[in-house]
Symmetry: C3
């Protein structure tokens, strides 16, 4: 059994280790695995996107504990959501929207039962005092019905732009990865021919790999999560363009190939 | 059984992995868990503070291996300290002072017995050559008396300023976390009313959570380790104030509430 | 059994966690351990050097999975190399040269058999789709002969300059660690007397430890991997010198002591 952690706590302080310590004290047999702790502080949407890219590769029964929680200590609620394969625990702040947009929810509860919290609950570190112990107890077999009452789950808006036929699609940069690649919300499940417009630039081809273009050249490709991505070969597109999340990217699809 | 690592080795080089490799070669059944490796290089006090925030959440029998060791290879000694629940291994340089100020020491020895070191001991990487194998052998059941002779443990000075009654308390910033929150040495175990002075600023209220003040506003609160902390809601107090460790913070306690 | 990961994927995105998820889905009993994921993006040589410093401390049967792979998705091949104690999996791009320069290879194959890949293989994330599952299947006992056909392994050039007698040796900086220490390719297995020249500076002594010189002073020593290293005590030589990899360092050996 795996508990996977996703937070904005960073790797510099003691926050993550305190969560792991609490979990392993309650369930010494669980494996605790980091997705990342380097989410931009309080960037709930970024956390949701990172989770979406990773979660489906985990073994069934994995419990995902996601703590990007700008309103910690206020009246905001915490939800635990069960799907066919997984359980997700997160603040009720939209963090799970990317995942909820594509999975069937079997059950969702508010995390309320203080029997499964630490004895002393701080106002500012629910990761340690609530999320960690609750996830550990669930990993030991505690049923979601024990955790709290049924949650009123908001169905998220459509998050990706599905690209499936010829035409122009307007998307935007939603994430910039460590290599500086600009990842958009344009989702493409087929091989396509077309071109990409970003600011005054036109990339006249959709490549398969970075290695298809020359050193330092711009490249547009469908990335390993089936999203349109703009990069610079052996370079850094973020720095090259001084690009930011939210900027528009236009994809013109000229032909869709069947795979 | 857990061995918890706390170093200034960073996550970029091979140092931490070499320590883990040595540990797991000697005891494949131990769990190795990171507290952090991003302590400011050679900042012994910072390491001690981070350890203090984390250690009490770990399961009994955890062995803490702390390597922030500016005098590695010189005549400085290494100590292994046993308390009711834990064993701590660190250079004898004050790193353990925060913890020792509040725990009862059952035994303390110098780490001396070369039978439990690697065969070749470098002058500059005792983390790999001494700390790692010694901790692994202890996790396999080797008694501290086997590790070395009784250590002459210095009792640390009082580290925190205990705030318990009405009045003015002068503290200082002792740590700045990844969110830029300014953490002081003013320790407060009750709910209080009062105000905080920092430079020319007055924060007129002790809040419970960041969410109690408006976006971008200053907030003073008692943090999850019971220390007075100054933050900026959804902002970064370190950057806002260009604040540094060592700066004074004055707390005026007007009322102490019983909990 | 351990699978040790070494990549340039960083700790900020989901890449490493996706690899670990794939591995643990195939073999829940393997331990996955990070060497580092902070290799400078696409710096194959840096990755090889870090691996060389760490690998020999790992328990026998460890599988090393190394993904610094600028040509991912192109025709470049992936190799799996078996030595007496270990298996190494890496792109066939020279990453393993440091290790191959000193170990005896028992077998080497190209990673080709799609039965051991994920079902859908992206063009840009072979770490998740090929390296991770192949390593997991090998950890479950799949023989290298099942993975692919015999590889044509290039024997790497001599990588280190062996320093064993009196005289002048010309080396270069090949790595700069997190502390700013300048590590050279001058390999020294004995204690020596001599001096080091770097730019216009002369360091007139080879020290054993940083603590042998005064605060902020330059120090030359033989590091924990037996390589000549230039540092600044309690300082940062990289910043002090604005030093870069590739710069020349001259070692004049005046006397070699037998150990």
């Amino acid at each position: 059994m795996i508990i996977a952690l996703l937070t904005d706590f960073g790797n510099r302080d003691w926050f993550v280790s305190a969560m792991k310590a609490v979990i392993l004290k309650i369930n010494p047999n669980v494996k605790v695995l980091d997705i990342t702790h380097e989410i931009t502080p309080q960037d709930v949407r970024e956390a949701g996107f990172v989770l979406w890219n990773a979660y489906r590769y985990f073994p069934p029964k994995t419990i995902f504990v996601c703590v990007v929680d700008p309103k910690v200590g206020s009246e905001r609620k915490i939800i635990a959501v069960e799907t066919k394969n997984y359980i997700f625990i997160a603040p009720d702040n939209g963090l799970l929207d990317f995942v909820l947009s594509e999975v069937e929810v079997l059950r969702a509860v508010y995390v309320e039962n203080k029997n499964y919290f630490l004895e002393n609950i701080s106002f500012t570190f629910h990761g340690r005092d609530i999320f960690a112990p609750v996830s550990a107890y669930i990993s030991r077999g505690v049923d979601l019905n024990e955790i709290g009452t049924e949650a009123d789950l908001k169905i998220p808006e459509k998050i990706f732009v599905d690209v499936s036929t010829q035409g122009d699609y307007k998307g935007e940069i939603i994430y910039i990865d460590r290599f500086g690649n600009l990842i958009t919300n344009l989702k493409i499940s087929n091989k396509i021919e077309g071109e990409v417009r970003f600011r005054e630039y036109i990339i006249e081809k959709i490549s398969s790999t970075y290695a298809e273009v020359g050193q330092g050249q711009m490249v547009a490709l469908i990335n390993s999560s089936n999203l349109l991505e703009i990069g610079v070969r052996n370079g850094n597109a973020k720095e090259f363009f001084k690009a930011n999340c939210g900027e528009n990217v236009i994809l013109r699809v000229k032909q869709v190939m069947k795979i």
